[in-house]
């Protein structure tokens, strides 16, 4: 019974983190149509900026979110305005654009990862932050804090999409770019903002992750893979789907890890592949 509770709680906490890691990717693909293989690299960048600011000016990691998020957001804006915008203009069809943008993002992966390695080296880094446990369930405090942040972010993001003008424009563009354009939405700006937001969320996720796990300039791809699994689980492009998918994957992960840790990765991929074959539109898709 206790084991069951532990598995459930660990899974839930992990799920929140997975959701956070994935929502950004879902946004990038769902609206901007970029399947960004370099997504995880920006998580890594967020984590290292946080780690570096903690070391240099002793900035609280939770405060540095306010810096990493916007900083990475701006990187995303610039990338979209230069790189992906041009690809979009030169691609004859959406399929071609998706293929090319995915490849370009692979190039981006190399660039970001190696720049980071030149700046921060390739050692494993980490710091202790709020890792006393909450007595009742033996749950580390930092995980609870991270989960709290994820929930707040999720709600804020939901409100942003549902209530604000920009949020509505984004949803309209996700449904149908042409209609959105007819309604007077500047589609190129919206796409750039969505891509930027997706990356910004990755940056924030990185800040939070650095409070929980050791970091290294090579951690990016692992998170990209997790994000892809989650996003396929929830349906490519569905924000709610990504949230639910994250929690499901978290639960799967904690369950499998409990019985046989070395099978965790295999479980991810098996779920991923089976889902892709049986329900390519995701668990939420019709």
């Amino acid at each position: 019974m206790n084991a069951f509770r532990d598995i459930f709680l660990t899974g839930l906490l992990l799920g929140g983190i997975f959701a956070l890691v994935s929502v950004g990717l879902s946004l990038q693909y769902g609206v901007a149509r970029v399947l960004n293989v370099a997504h995880g690299e920006f998580i890594m960048v967020g984590a290292f900026i946080t780690f570096w600011m903690l070391g240099s000016i002793n900035l609280n990691p939770l405060v540095s979110l306010v810096i990493t998020g916007p900083a990475v957001f701006i990187m995303g804006l610039i990338l979209h305005k230069t790189l992906f915008r041009r690809l979009m203009d030169t691609s004859p069809s959406l399929d071609v654009f998706e293929g090319k943008s995915m490849l370009a993002s692979f190039g981006l992966l190399y660039v970001v990862q190696n720049l980071a390695r030149i700046i921060w080296g390739s050692d494993v880094e980490g710091y202790n932050f709020l890792n006393s446990t909450v007595t009742a369930a033996q749950i580390p405090l930092n995980r609870l804090v991270a989960l709290g942040f994820v929930i707040v972010l999720g709600v804020a993001f939901y409100l942003f999409l549902a209530r604000t003008r920009l949020g509505k424009a984004i949803r309209a563009s996700a449904q149908s770019p042409t209609t959105a354009e007819l309604m007077g939405v500047n589609i190129h700006n919206v796409l750039a903002i969505c891509f930027g937001l997706g990356l910004g969320l990755a940056g924030i996720a990185g800040s939070l992750l650095s409070t929980l796990f050791a970091i290294q300039t090579s951690i990016g791809l692992g998170y990209t893979v997790i994000a892809m699994v989650v996003v396929v689980l929830g349906g490519l492009g569905s924000i709610t789907g990504a949230m639910i998918g994250g929690v499901i994957l978290g639960l799967v992960s904690s369950t499998v890890t409990f019985f046989q840790p070395s099978l965790t990765m295999i479980a991810y991929y098996v779920i991923f592949i089976v889902l892709l074959l049986s329900r390519p539109k995701g668990i939420m898709g019709k």
Binding site: G107, Y110, F272, L276
Partner: protein, 316 residues
């Protein structure tokens, strides 16, 4: 007039190919060391790139499974190293890759566009982890050792596989399968309703292209002495051929070969001169290539050539 020019062009092409073939065939007699090592690398990537282009070029299905079949070749060579002679290992690797690709293709080739790409991407990682786990449970080690073969032996093996790959690629392009694949890439639904068995065409070509990836893996494994799942199933092996094909251009088969050769050579120079910047520069080049050379270096060269000649004639 036009036909005369065409036959003369064809004659020149064939002549050049023959000369290239002879040079490559006799090279180990006159030189050794660095040149041969570099050529082995170039031929390896040329095989992977051409094999990738055979299927993904015309069909438009972007496969990232190359590393899976290539790695399979590695493991065939490692597991049966010492049991069978080298040529048998290579043939076995091709056969196994073919069969596995048939299965994978039958399962996945109904996925479209980006879904197919991420599926094949995940496949490589799945196989990597499964092999890792099997090794952990069964052999309780992480890696394996492979009997080495002389550099010259490896060179000839990879050269023969390369020639086979090129011949197959040309044959497929010229055959009805080439046209079928092309029309699938243009409009799959219309192809199906015009009488093309789209499933069989896709799965079979996918599997044929995997043969050469597997063979290349088995040959190169013997140069490694030690392999583990991270070396064998490396995602770079999936991405590099795609980049090389894009870099070289895919309108004809010379493109991928040129792309592979240039890319490998430049990579080699970068790696020796600026090892820290190698992957960084590689990424930048990749992005620039995608942005500014939609038809690859070959397309770029053709465009420049036409400009020089004053663009008197429309492209054929």
């Amino acid at each position: 007039m036009k036909t005369i020019r065409m036959t003369r062009n064809r004659g020149i092409t064939l002549g050049l190919l023959l000369i290239a073939f002879l040079i490559l065939a006799f090279l180990p007699q006159v030189t050794s060391g660095y040149v041969i090592t570099l050529l082995i690398d170039i031929l390896k990537f040329a095989i992977l790139t051409v094999a990738w282009v055979v299927f993904s070029g015309p069909s438009g299905y972007m496969s990232l499974a190359t590393a899976a079949f290539y790695g399979l070749g590695f493991y065939i060579a490692a597991v049966f190293s010492g049991t069978f002679p080298f040529p048998v290992l290579v043939i076995m690797a091709g056969a196994v890759a073919f069969v596995v690709a048939l299965g994978v293709g039958a399962l996945t080739l109904r996925l479209r566009g980006v879904y197919f790409a991420i599926f094949t991407f995940a496949l490589v990682l799945l196989v990597q982890n499964v092999v890792l786990e099997i090794e952990r449970v069964v052999t309780e080690t992480r890696g394996r050792f492979v009997d080495t073969v002389s550099t010259e032996g490896v060179y000839y093996a990879i050269f023969i596989v390369f020639v086979l790959t090129m011949l197959t690629a040309v044959l497929i392009r010229r055959s009805r399968y080439g046209l079928a694949l092309q029309s699938i890439g243009e409009y799959e639904e219309a192809a199906a309703h015009s009488g093309i068995n789209v499933v069989r065409t896709k799965v079979l070509t996918f599997a044929v292209s995997a043969i050469f990836m597997g063979m290349a893996g088995a040959v190169i494994a013997t140069r490694r002495t030690y392999i583990d799942p991270y070396i064998a199933f490396n995602l770079n092996t999936s991405f590099l051929p795609v980049l090389m094909a894009m870099f070289g251009g895919m309108t004809n088969l010379a493109g991928p070969v040129i792309g592979a050769a240039l890319f490998t050579y430049i990579g080699e120079i970068l790696l020796t001169r600026f090892p820290d910047l190698y992957m960084l520069i590689f990424g930048v080049v990749l992005i620039l290539a995608i942005l500014f050379m939609p038809n690859g270096v070959l397309g770029l060269a053709q465009r420049v050539w036409r400009k020089i000649r004053g663009g008197r004639r429309a492209p054929a």
